[in-house]
Each structure stands twice: as C-alpha cells, then as structure tokens.
Symmetry: C2
Subunit: 334 residues, 2 copies
DNA sequence: GCACACCTCGGAAACGTTTCCCAGCATCCC
DNA sequence: GGGATGCTGGGAAACGTTTCCGAGGTGTGC
C-alpha cells in the first residue's frame, strides 16, 4: 500500500515538453499532428500515466457506469439478465454496478433517489412491486432508466416486459391438452407484479380450456423451493385428485416435484408438473421439467440496448417492448 | 430527458446565506453550530440539492466503489460470493461493480490494469487460472486487492482460499466408508486451479483409503452439466464396475446422475454420487445429492471483510485465510 | 507583398467538491 | 482591562481533467 504518487497529465506534459491541453487532445484524438501524438504517447509510456476516471467524469459529465437493480441476484431470472446485460454494456465500454435490493421497496427507492448523485449514466431497474412512489420517482429520473417488468402505461420510461400472463396460460393449456383436468397452481405473493400476472394467466388458461377455476387449487408460496414443497404437500393431501401442478417459478415447481415424490405420486404418470422461467434447474432436474421461458436473457439484452440508445442521446418517446414467452416441454408433463 | 440544471453547493450556500465551506461542513458534520446546520438543511431541501459523487471522489480520492471480478457470475460458486459480498460492502456504503471476465485471462489482466484509473477503491479477484502476468500485476496494485483462490505464497496480497483438495479427499473417504471401492472422478480442466487441487485431493483420498488409483477412472469435463453427463456415460460404459462417482462440481455430478439414470443404474443403490460446491442444485436434485461445501459464501464474506479492513487503512502484512470444506451427506451417497 | 483564412498549440477557466488558512470575535484568566 | 486562547465561518486553493479562446505561425489568393 505504498501510496506512490499517481502521475497526472501535467507530468506527461512536462516530459513531452508540451502543454496539458495538447496532451489531452493527443490522447483523445483531437489533433492531427502525428509528431505531437508520438511524443505524447512516448511520455505517457515513460511516466506510466493513466487518466483519472473520476476527473474525466467530473469534466465530461458522464461516468461510463450503468447500474442494474433487482431483488436478488440469486434469483435465476435476474441472473440470466445480468449475464446478458454485462457483456452488452461492456462491449461499448460501460461498467456494471449491481444493486441487490433484497426485495426492500425502500431500497429500490433509495437507488432511484441516489441517481441524482450522478455516479452512473443510466439504470436498469427490475422492481418486484411497483408502488406509487416508484411511479413518482420514475417521472423525473436524473438519468435514463429502463424498467424490466410491468409498469403503468403512463410512466414515461422505456419498458421491457415479459408476458407471464400469457406464459401461465400457455402452461395451463398445455397441461390440459396433455390430459390434465384438475390443474393446481402454486403462485408467488399476489402483491408482486409477476405473482399477479401469473395468477391472471392461470385463470385465463383454465377458462380457455373450459375448466372451472377452483380457488382451493391455488396456493401461495414465496417463489422458493421450500414454499413450493410445502404448498404441494398440503395441496395434494387435501385434494388427491389433482393431476397437474403449475409452479409460478422453477423453484416452486421443483419443490412440488419433491413433495409429489415424497407422497409417492409419480411424475408425470400421476401428476404433471410445469415450472416457469426455464432455468438450468428445469433442464437438469429429474425427470427433466417442462418450463415456460419468459425470455429473461432476451429481456436483459433488450433493456441494455434500449438504455444504450438513450445514453447515445436518443430522445424519441419511451419504448415498450414485450418479449413473448415460450414453453419448453420436457418429461415432467408428457 | 430535460437536462434540468442540477443544483450545486453554491446554490445551497446562496439560499442559506452562508459560504460554500459552511455548507460542506454542515453536511459532513464538521460544525457544531446547530443553527447553521438547520439553515443549511433547509436550503438543501429547498433547492433539492444532492452532492455530486464524482466531485466528492475527485477531492477525497475515494469512490465508494469496489469491484468484484470473476469468470462468470452464472457459476453458482461465484454467485454465492456475490450474494454475500454485496450486502457486506453495502452495509458500510460501498457499491459493487461486477466484472464477468468470461474466463479470459486477458480480461482479468485488463481489470487489474484499469485499477489505476481509480474508479474503484478496491478489488476482489477470483482468477480461474493464475499466470505469471497475474502475479506480476498483483505485486504493485494501484488499490487494495483481495484474491479468492490459490495464489503463490510470495504474492503480497490478501488471499482467501478454499481447501478443495481436502474437500475432494473428504468426499472420497466418505464414499469409501459408505462401501464404494471403485470410485471414479470427473474433474474440470487440469490447468485450472480448482481442477488441479481436486485432482490431487481425489488421489490423496484414494491412498488414505488404501484404494489403488486407476487413471482410467478419471475423466475431464468443463465444469458443466453436459460434460458431466457425457463423461459419466462413457465411464460407466467402459467400466461397469464403478460404484461411485465424484464430480468436481455439482453441475458435473448432476450430469453424472442423469447419465446413470439413463443407463438404468440406481443412485445410490448401484452407484453413489457426490458433487462439490453444495449449490442449491444439490439440495433440490432427486435424490438429494451429497456435496462438499467449499464455503463460497464464507469466502465471499471474508474477502469483503478483509478488503474493508484495507480500505480502512490497515497496513498490516497480507493475510491468508483458508476456509475449511464441509461435507453435506444426502441420499445420493447413503 | 500584403491581407486574409486557417490551423496548431498554450493559457486559463471551468466541472463541484473539500479543506487549508486566516480574520474576526467571544471567552477566559491574570 | 488587556492579552492569550479558542472557536466560527469565509475566501481561496486544490483535486485532474476537458475545452474555450486567442496568439502566433503558415499558407493562399490577389
């Protein structure tokens, strides 16, 4: 930790025998004199100069940083997004800041507020719940913001959506087609955006198939494995006639598969199972589990691209992109 | 994107009728005059002032940011680390920058070099392979660095290690104790740090159990599911007497479990399986899979704590912490 | 040969903070 | 009551860049 003095542009200028303005110009390609450029570069090498990001940011008013805020990066869907967002941004020189807010709406708002500190040029936000205060904060963001997730139509912000309502519906229709008639649903909390949408989709699916919705066949877990397992055990004990379970995400569905196994029910023979998000968990489970992909990776990529356009100065009206879901059918529901 | 003028400390000073020095002091708690503080705060509220992070960084010479660089955040072990590093840093006000280098040594070196741009106060690095150039770059880092992973002893950098050699050995001993005699091993690439260590541990384990190492029972995959599956299929076809498989990580082991199932071999009846890293995959697989935890979360937390100490100005000699492995026994090896 | 345009480069002003330094004032002690 | 002491708050410098502006030099056209 020997605090060696970091060389500045002034030292470079002195060594090269030119002014600091010339150094700056030479380094930023704003000069045509080849000799000058050569001398500056030589001096840069000699003193080991590296420009200070911070000073540049102060002057140029942009930081080369973008933040991504979501509930928990441990969630596979968000993980997939990060994996696409990072390279997309990186390609054009942006760094990625991660905010795992831990499902704390207060924290999300904090992130939004902290944008005025100007430490990032833009934000990609994945709110789990959208409150009035979110909407308020999003009306006048200090920097461009792209929201992944459902948003009221009048919020003037680029918005990338999954259609998990349609996704849930597709799953139900598929299960029906495969022969299921008593299709249960283990949802996440109803006050979350995805929980609500999937619930609606489930009901729409039932109706489309001519099945009568039965609230007793709906359970609520917390998007986690244990919740799914517990709910499924409960469900199947009380309603042994259930012949299919849709989980609001793969973790829930995996939990359900475990519960079924513990109850001695065969998947898919006795009960079919479908999950959502199509995470690696689904493909590697046994039996491999059908799952509705909500295009997390695509949503991440698209969000990053939208943001980059804004950062490039695009002032066109906010865009709204919806990524269609797709169902991957595997053994668990055949 | 109406570029409203962001209020600066000067505006606050004007509104409060004091000097900018007083505003700064009031905001940073370096004044005792309650009246002054109140007036400044009122002015801050009135004009909606938020300090510019960038200007502060330039002046104070620290950014409140820390970078974490690893191969791929999709890897569950790194993910666990991030999940612990972020809150630990956040608690004391640091933001986390993510660098997923994609196993590109060049990129890792780039991150190391870019540290002199001073956009972060510190770095936590997880190199997959450690080259001479890594070591060279680590000798004079521009900011404090903590390395998670094996490092030559003479590199003067805080270092947090897993003991995956001992971990692999524990797994072998456990399998032997459970009755296995032909224990196969599907490793990652030998030229990676963990690949090498686990290989050594596997052999140590065999010797400790009095089993004769047989190179035919070793396969190499790429730490991925498909690699594990393919290797296991191959292995079991050529050596049907194999009665246990150790995977160098959970993905490999999961792949092996699938291959076994496809070959009609029962787990654990015919073949026992143990994975490594103890990711959620292990706990949610069927049958639940034994796995050696290498303490990823702990390593992340410890690395963050070490770094924070350095950022606090601790100048003591570099520390080396080794996190002991622990084996979680589940059905797959009972 | 001179006026003019053009280009190159240096000086200096910003960007928005923190902090050093010092003047002014009140307090205290002898 | 006067000088030393301590505290408070203002002015200004500094952090390390980019960029505006203008001076000087060079080339061109008449």
């Amino acid at each position: 930790m020997t605090q060696r003095h970091r060389p500045t542009i002034h030292e470079v200028a002195k060594v090269a025998g030119v002014s600091i303005s010339s150094v700056s110009r030479a380094l930023n390609g704003n000069t045509s004199n080849a000799d000058m450029v050569a001398r500056v570069n030589a001096a840069v090498q000699e003193v080991g100069y590296v420009p200070s990001m911070v000073a540049q940011s102060l002057k140029t008013r942009h930081t080369g940083q973008v933040a991504f805020a979501m509930e928990d990066i441990g969630n596979a869907a968000y993980l997939e997004m990060v994996r696409r967002i990072q390279p997309t941004l990186r390609e054009v020189g942006y760094r990625l800041l991660l905010h795992s807010t831990g499902a704390d709406a207060e924290d999300e708002l904090g992130v939004l507020a902290s944008l005025s500190q100007n430490y990032v040029d833009g934000l990609i936000l994945c709110p789990l719940r959208v409150t009035g205060r979110h909407v308020e904060a999003l009306r006048h963001p200090a920097v461009p913001v792209v929201v992944i997730g459902l948003l009221p139509d009048d919020v003037p912000v680029d918005n990338v959506r999954a259609d998990s309502r349609v996704g849930a519906r597709m799953a139900v229709e598929h299960l029906h087609e495969a022969g299921a008639r008593r299709i249960a649903f283990i949802d996440g909390p109803l006050d979350t955006v995805p929980g609500r949408a999937r619930h609606d989709g489930y009901r729409m699916g039932l109706e489309a198939c001519g099945l009568k919705p039965d609230d007793h066949l709906i359970r609520f877990a917390d998007f986690q494995f244990e919740g799914g397992r517990h709910s499924a055990r409960d469900l199947l004990t009380q309603h042994p006639d259930v012949d299919a379970v849709l989980g609001a995400n793969d973790l829930i569905a995996m939990g359900a598969m475990h519960a079924l196994r513990e109850l001695g029910r065969h998947v898919p023979g006795d009960v079919r199972v479908v999950g959502m998000d199509d995470t690696p968990l689904a493909a590697t489970s046994f039996p491999p589990m059908s799952s509705v992909s909500l295009g997390s990776a695509d949503r991440g990529r698209i969000a990053a691209e939208l943001l980059l356009r804004r950062l490039d100065g695009d002032g066109s009206p906010p865009e709204r992109v919806t990524v269609p879901p797709s169902l991957t059918i595997r053994e668990s529901s055949r």
